[in-house]
């Protein structure tokens, strides 16, 4: 059950997308998100869709994994779509029955919004699937480094991010273990009344918190033992290097973005 969570999961590989500089990948992802939100007409979305498919194909990660990242959010997407359908009131009225009113604008927004969010999740999954969390935080640190001049704790932020990301799988595994252990003692986690389930949640949360604090403590000690004292003067094992391919990828993305803007301008 918990093992199905794919958010933040990394699929090691050696595809074109894997080899790109993570800094470029982050910038490209931001441009991609802007591209999706430039206009709401069919051609605009097709541009976004083609771009997403291109990125997915080049990433070498099976399409099934992208579908898996969208699947858990589908119920929310459907609820949003239904709400938009009934609540948005613009354009020609297509159907009117008592208090229910469906307009052209409503259909547009609910459909476009849904496709857009699906593309958004899949597109940003390309980033997380092809970039290891550590390189990702390295890249964030480098991209934010100009803020250091404003006394913004960039290194500390990146360190916290990488620690948090590093411990997601550990905590998931731990939760799984504790759940199994309590199930072995007859805890009803998936069944039973609300009260018994709430009580049984305590049987999972308390041990989980206890162990998270213990881990944090141990990690802090381990870091101090290795003389960690912030980012000052710290060198890196992995140097980030950009190549011609990175500029090409960035260029292609910008072209797509401009195309989306042009299309949005023409058709509106």
């Amino acid at each position: 059950m918990l093992k199905d969570i794919t958010i933040g999961q990394f699929f090691p590989g050696d595809s074109l997308v894997h080899r790109l500089d993570p800094r470029f990948k982050i910038v490209i992802t931001i441009i991609f998100i802007m591209m999706l939100f430039t206009g709401s007409n069919v051609i605009c979305l097709i541009v976004g869709g083609v771009y997403t498919l291109l990125a997915i194909t080049l990433s070498g990660v099976p399409f099934k994994m992208y579908w898996k990242s969208v699947k858990p959010l589908l119920p929310f997407l459907l609820i949003t779509a239904v709400l938009n359908l009934f609540l948005v009131d613009s354009g020609d009225t297509l159907l009117k029955w008592k208090f229910i009113k469906i307009t052209e604008g409503g259909i547009d927004i609910s459909v476009f919004m849904m496709i857009r969010i699906v593309l958004l999740i899949m597109g940003s999954s390309v980033l997380t699937y092809t970039t290891s969390p550590i390189t990702l935080t390295d890249a964030v640190e480098r991209l934010l480094s100009p803020l250091k001049k404003l006394k913004f704790p960039v290194h500390e932020l990146a360190m916290m991010m990488s620690i948090a990301l590093r411990f997601i799988p550990t905590l998931i595994e731990e939760t799984d273990k504790i759940m199994s252990a309590q199930k072995a003692r007859g805890a009803e986690i998936d069944t039973g009344s609300f009260m018994t389930r709430a009580r049984n949640m305590a049987a999972i949360m308390i041990p989980l918190f206890v162990s998270a604090f213990r881990r944090a403590d141990e990690l802090a000690t381990a870091m101090e033992c290795r003389c960690y004292n912030g980012g000052e003067g710290r060198t890196r094992l992995r140097q980030l290097r950009s190549s011609g391919m990175d500029y090409i990828a960035l260029g292609v993305t910008i072209v797509f973005y401009i195309a989306a803007i042009v299309v949005a301008k023409i058709t509106v």
Binding site: K183, A184, G186, E188, A202, A203, I206, V210
Partner: protein
């Protein structure tokens, strides 16, 4: 009749994904009631996966698990009852402790079974005594206890459900030798009182050699062997080859055999080795009183 039986039990992790891995491969097994079984195997040999099938925490990809002759997955809604019949103590079980007092934590399992207070109290008291937890400890917070004590509280929590089969996954992992001996002797005490079947997982033979009736060895997801302790130790060489630790005293006697001193039997406890040596010396009329 066998208390635990598996028929062609197979389990595959993450089926259909790139991480697919078969952890248990067509295992056929019959474990008799009332005995102590040592379960051995290298890390990743599938022993932990195997035991999680016995109480229905994992559902076989294919094959069957029978407890008391009944297929536990025949009726999915009854799977919780299986967990009361087969108690499973995980590795480092102290991390599952969560209640505010030791008493309440041991009582958690029995309470989930829906027993009345008097029965719960009897069980908590008895298992606490089996595990050498003094009465004044029962009202303390489990988080204040020492590591070894916490471990015993967690084991008591499962024992108190009085399962027909008790499975312990490396109950002595991470303890010092004194703590290890203590846990083992408490488990023996529990076995003497209840006569219930016990399975103990361990990667070292040294731990279980002295008191297991039978030994089950897993290797690379397959059942390597399941037989009487002596017969398994007779194959000590093979077992050493699959990367498992043979007791030191057995190693010494294997070397002696190579050097021409054959005792005709496999030796796996120090006490037995001493008896054998003394007898040999007596035969030769040497210093039998050493």
């Amino acid at each position: 009749m066998a208390i635990i039986e598996t028929q062609e039990l197979t389990y595959t992790y993450s089926q259909g994904s790139p991480f697919e891995k078969t952890a248990v491969d067509h295992v056929n097994l019959k474990i008799d009631e009332g005995i102590i079984v040592g379960v051995m195997g290298h890390t990743g040999s599938g022993k932990s996966t195997l035991i999680q099938h016995f109480n229905g925490l994992l559902q076989p990809t294919s094959g069957k698990v029978l407890i008391d002759g009944v297929d536990i997955w025949a009726d999915k809604s009854k799977i919780r009852d299986v967990r009361f019949q087969v108690g499973l103590v995980f590795q480092y079980p102290e991390y599952q402790i969560f209640e505010e007092t030791v008493y309440k934590d041991i009582a958690y399992g029995p309470r989930n079974m829906g027993l009345d207070e008097a029965e719960i109290k009897r069980r908590v008291m008895e298992t606490a005594a089996d595990l050498g937890l003094k009465e004044e400890l029962l009202e303390r917070s489990p988080f204040e206890l020492s590591g070894g004590q916490k471990r015993r509280v967690a084991i008591a929590g499962v024992m108190a459900m009085e399962p027909k089969v008790l499975i312990l996954d490396e109950p002595t992992a991470g303890l010092d030798p004194a703590g290890r001996d203590k846990i083992i002797s408490h488990i023996k005490q529990y076995h003497q009182r209840t006569k219930n079947t016990i399975l103990i997982v361990s990667h070292s033979m040294e731990d279980i050699a002295g008191f297991a009736d039978k030994i089950l060895v897993m290797n690379k997801a397959k059942l390597f062997c399941y037989d009487d302790t002596e017969k398994v130790f007779a194959r000590a060489q093979e077992i050493a080859q699959i990367g498992l630790d043979v007791p030191q005293v057995t190693k010494v006697f294997m070397e002696l055999k190579d050097k021409g001193l054959d005792f005709g039997k496999e030796v796996y406890t120090v006490g037995y080795a001493r008896d054998l040596l003394l007898r040999k010396l007596a035969e030769k009329g040497g210093a039998a009183d050493c």
